[in-house]
Amino acid sequence: MTEHIVLVVNGQRRELEVEPRRLLVQVLREDLDLTGTHVGCDTSQCGACTVHVDGQAIKSCTMLAVQADGSAVRTIEGMATDGALHPLQAAFWEKHGLQCGFCTPGMIMTAADLLARNPDPSDDEIRHAIEGNFCRCTGYQNIVAAIREAASTLRTAAAAPKSAREAATAASNGKA
């Protein structure tokens, strides 16, 4: 037995027939081929599967796809716009915020959620915000630096008039 669901994934409307037991992460990875969202555990501890559902970071291994019916879902594949990296992506690259890269998509999605709520977080606030995401490679130090840098880029862009905002985004990507 399957259920009919509608998701808006990275801005695209997708209609799917899914088994009720199917997890959102399975639908993203296996049905929609969005393999940037990873699975690193089976107990909702690691955060590698973090995506946004209606603007909020959630662990997609802990949500049934049918629960997301009617929602907007954003994955790591939807972060760059028109080929321009999101400031978080640029900052992770710039600050060496990744090594093997496996936790990176989830880490970036969690950080984006933080910066939407708190545009100027302290290092302590950043470290607490990413507590639900494990990284075994970096020791977190450069991840914290990357999130701090992206926050600064985003604040600069938000404070500027639109034309300057575009320039800031361009500069951020140029630097990348």
Binding site: L34, T35, G36, W93, H96, F134, G139, Q141
Partner: protein, 800 residues
């Protein structure tokens, strides 16, 4: 003019795919017609298999096949690094089969497998398999397993002993201890750890019935070695009929090095179902139960010396838990990689160690970041602190007094680096330990420790600082040494690289090493860019596929920069030499008159007579006008068999604060001064040190694999195993000294493991230092709040 990028913090070329979600890890690969495999694992730590009934499972929806051990005609998995040395040590070997046949030796050993159309169908069918078990008593503690009356795992291993391996001078060490002014003894436990790469393991096996060829995609650090082991040792097929591919690997830390049963299982299953690809990806729970664990030593140490702090002897007896069966290099890890470096950076004249490898009803133990060297560092750095406490000496002063002096390199280490290896010697190549110690002391405020202790005490905190003046051995290893009597596996430890400059001047570098997050695509390109004088953007580095890359032994033991990249330097040298000869031909000059300046090949004294390497490559690829006897094309392969290992060192100083009421321990400061020789990319080096430190701190404070007495893995998920989280850690303060290694032209040593090797001892020593005012001289790790609180209560005479 191309900017020289060697030694600069250039951003990583592999990152764009990872930050956009376009990395391609094993589970991201979908092949046409792919079936899925699941493994039934033993629920018991020790049991005989009376029978397995698969009939119901075979009838389940979507099931393509059900396999049990007896179906699989392959050999048991190989164990290729016995406890060796010139003494000709007996190793009582038992290795896993692809699936267990008669008995299981740990909770999680594979017993049967289902291949089905979907992963869910495979898992559902597992539940329909009925195994008739005869449960047996289990033992999980290595020391207890050797005692009379302990449950016996294997007929050929009385008292569960795999080997008893001695190294060093027993009589001399006994005499040193006998005659010493001071002897300190301590039992210490280096607890079992679970490596925890964020990507679990998995494979896709594919048998092509049209060609009789096998292909496997595997999340492995060692695709070339796996090809050799699977073909020649396990499956008995011609090596050229097997291709091994590692896609992007999401971390490994030594746990993706060894030969696992699932490799042969997916290949066999694919053949059984007529050549459809078969995918298996472990769950995290399976990863915890059946991918290798690390550490797990019980050690009795004796350290002897004079009242002035001079250490005269070190004697160590270690029980190394190797699990229920031996994995690929299980015995090599607690012997050569551990006991041969036990004396660390100290000049200790008498060293003797005896290691007993032991079977227990637990997952096999093998390489985990540092593999043997963190255990050795923990022993010697705890021992130095214990001795200093005994004679009332400052912990930095005792280290200074016993350092190998800088004028004594290369140094022949008495704990056996240079001795029991059939004549092939390894020396500590270089070192200058005191500057790193001094720098770390200045940075950390160690001189003001008493003041800091008082200040913390006023806040209800016990403050402590811990030193670790570590020595690391990496860049394994000279083949001659590995191949010495009984010390190797009939193979070698060199590395290889091939460089091709195509007609367009673009370069492809193929290598035998295998990245798992270290940024090799960037650092190899930096090296080759420097050597050939061409932009990094013109270079691509390819790896991880036995088809299309030269043979290599893979990436572990911090060996890629010192061994692998030296092969790339040598290959570039061959390219330059050929380009030089062809430039002489083009410029009508003698070869001796051609000077190389970056990409320019110029006639001495005639600055306008010049050809770039790109022009040379173009002409040489076209080969319209080659000189007599010269083959077309710039295409060179080089091999590098290192003459010695490399020996990074440094000083790490941890500062902890313990809440006296709750026992909660916080790492508040961490200073690391490392000497890893020259750096190819300092940004990447720092990243390796950061991550390494956290893995070592994790062991000191939080991590530990825990088995119940009957062999159930109690810490069986990420909910139960305490991996370090971001908010638990301070900002690490890093600095360096630079003593280039003399054993390779880059002067590099390797950095993948240094942080982990140093940080466990530094952090544990800090905890004990904080507790020392209460009269506590030692506690075993991990220093969780519960354990520390109990120790405080006991020390204060309360009930804990």
């Amino acid at each position: 003019m191309t900017i020289d990028v060697l030694g600069t913090p250039v951003k990583r070329t592999e990152d764009p795919r990872f930050i956009t979600g376009k990395g391609r890890y094993l589970d991201d690969i979908k092949l046409t017609g792919m079936a899925h495999l699941a493994i039934l694992r033993s629920p018991y730590a020790h049991a005989n298999i009376r029978s397995v009934d698969t009939s119901a499972a075979k009838a389940m929806p979507g099931v393509l096949g059900v396999l049990v051990g007896a179906d699989i005609p392959y050999n048991p998995l190989p164990m290729v690094w016995p406890a060796g040395g010139s003494a000709g040590i007996q190793n009582n070997v038992n290795t896993p089969r692809v699936l267990a046949t008669n008995s299981v030796k740990w909770t999680g050993e594979g017993v049967a497998a289902v291949v089905a159309e979907t992963p869910e169908q495979a898992l559902e069918a597992l539940e329909a398999i009925h195994v008739d078990w005869e449960q047996l008593p289990a033992v999980v503690d290595a020391e207890k397993a050797t005692q009379p009356g302990a449950p016996q795992l294997h007929e050929n291993a009385p008292n569960n002993v795999v080997f008893v391996w001695p190294v060093g001078d027993k009589a001399g060490t006994d005499a040193a201890i006998e005659s010493a002014e001071v002897v300190v003894r301590q039992r210490i436990v280096n607890q079992r750890l679970i490596p925890n790469p964020m990507e679990v393991r998995g494979d896709i096996g594919w048998f092509n019935p049209g060609t009789d060829e096998y292909t496997i995609w595997m999340s492995s650090q060692t695709p070339h070695i796996q090809r050799l082991l699977l073909a020649a040792f396990v499956m008995g097929i011609p090596e050229q009929k097997l291709r091994c591919i590692s896609p992007d690997v999401g971390g490994a830390f030594g746990s993706k090095l060894i030969c696992y049963p699932d490799y042969a299982l997916t290949l066999f299953a694919s053949k059984q179902i007529g050549g459809r690809p078969v995918k298996w990806v472990e769950s995290r729970r399976e990863n915890y139960q059946s991918t290798n664990h690390g550490r797990d030593h019980i050690t009795y140490l004796e350290i002897a010396g004079k009242r002035d702090g001079e250490i005269t002897g070190l004697k160590v007896k270690t029980y190394a838990n190797l699990g229920g069966r031996l994995s690929t290099i299980g015995p090599g890890t607690p012997t050569t990689l551990y006991a041969r470096v036990l004396s660390g950076c100290y000049k200790i004249p008498n060293v003797y160690a005896e290691v007993t490898g032991v079977y227990t009803n637990t997952t096999f133990v093998d390489t985990y970041r540092g593999a043997g060297r963190p255990e050795a560092t923990y022993v010697i750095e705890r021992a130095m602190d214990l001795f200093a406490a005994e004679i009332g000496m400052d912990r930095a002063a005792i280290r200074r007094k016993n350092f190998i002096p800088p004028d004594q390199f290369p140094y022949d280490n008495p704990s056996g680096l240079g001795t029991a290896s059939g004549g092939a010697k390894i020396y500590i190549d270089s070192g200058n330990y005191e500057p790193a110690l001094n720098k770390a002391i200045m940075m950390s405020g160690y001189m003001d420790l008493d003041k800091a202790r008082k200040e913390a005490k006023s806040r209800g905190k016990l403050l402590g600082m811990g030193l670790s003046t570590y020595l690391e051995m990496c860049g394994v290893a000279p083949s001659k040494w590995i191949g010495a009597v009984g010390e190797g596996w009939g193979a070698a430890m060199w590395e290889s690289a091939n460089i091709k400059m195509h007609l367009t001047g673009k370069v492809v570098v193929t290598v035998g090493t295998q990245p798992q997050g270290q940024g090799h695509e960037t650092t190899y390109a930096q090296v080759v860019s420097h050597e050939l004088g061409i932009p990094m953007e013109d270079i691509v580095v390819q790896h991880s596929d036995t088809q299309g890359t030269p043979f290599g032994y893979g990436s572990y033991g911090s060996r890629t920069s010192s061994v692998g990249m030296t092969a790339a330097v040598k290959a570039a040298g061959k390219i330059k030499e050929k380009a030089r000869r062809f430039a002489a031909h083009m410029l009508e000059a003698s070869v001796d008159d051609i000077e190389i300046d970056g990409a320019n090949y110029r006639v001495k004294g005639s600055p306008d007579k010049v050809k770039t390497i790109q022009e040379i490559a173009f002409a040489l690829d076209l080969a319209y006008d080659p000189p007599e006897g010269m083959e077309p094309y710039l295409d060179e392969t080089a091999y590098w068999d290192t003459p010695n290992c490399t020996f990074p060192f440094g000083t790490h100083i941890a500062t902890v604060e313990i809440d006296e009421e709750t026992g909660d321990t916080e790492l508040v400061r961490y200073v690391a001064v490392d000497d890893v020789g020259n750096k190819i990319n300092p940004m990447i080096v720092d990243g390796q040190i950061h991550g390494g430190i956290v893995q070592g701190v994790g062991q000191a404070l939080w991590e530990g694999a825990v088995y119940s007495d009957d062999g159930q893995l109690v810490s069986g998920s990420m909910m139960d195993y305490a991996l370090p989280r971001a908010a638990w850690l301070p900002v690490f303060e890093l600095d360096q000294t630079v003593t280039p290694s003399p054993v390779n032209p880059l002067g590099v040593k390797g950095v993948g493991e240094a942080g982990t090797i140093a940080s466990t001892a530094a952090t544990a020593n800090a905890v004990i230092d904080a507790l020392s005012p209460l009269g506590i001289r030692h506690l075993d790790m991990p220093h969780t709040a519960q354990k520390v609180w109990r120790a405080i209560q006991t020390a204060k005479g309360g009930k804990a």
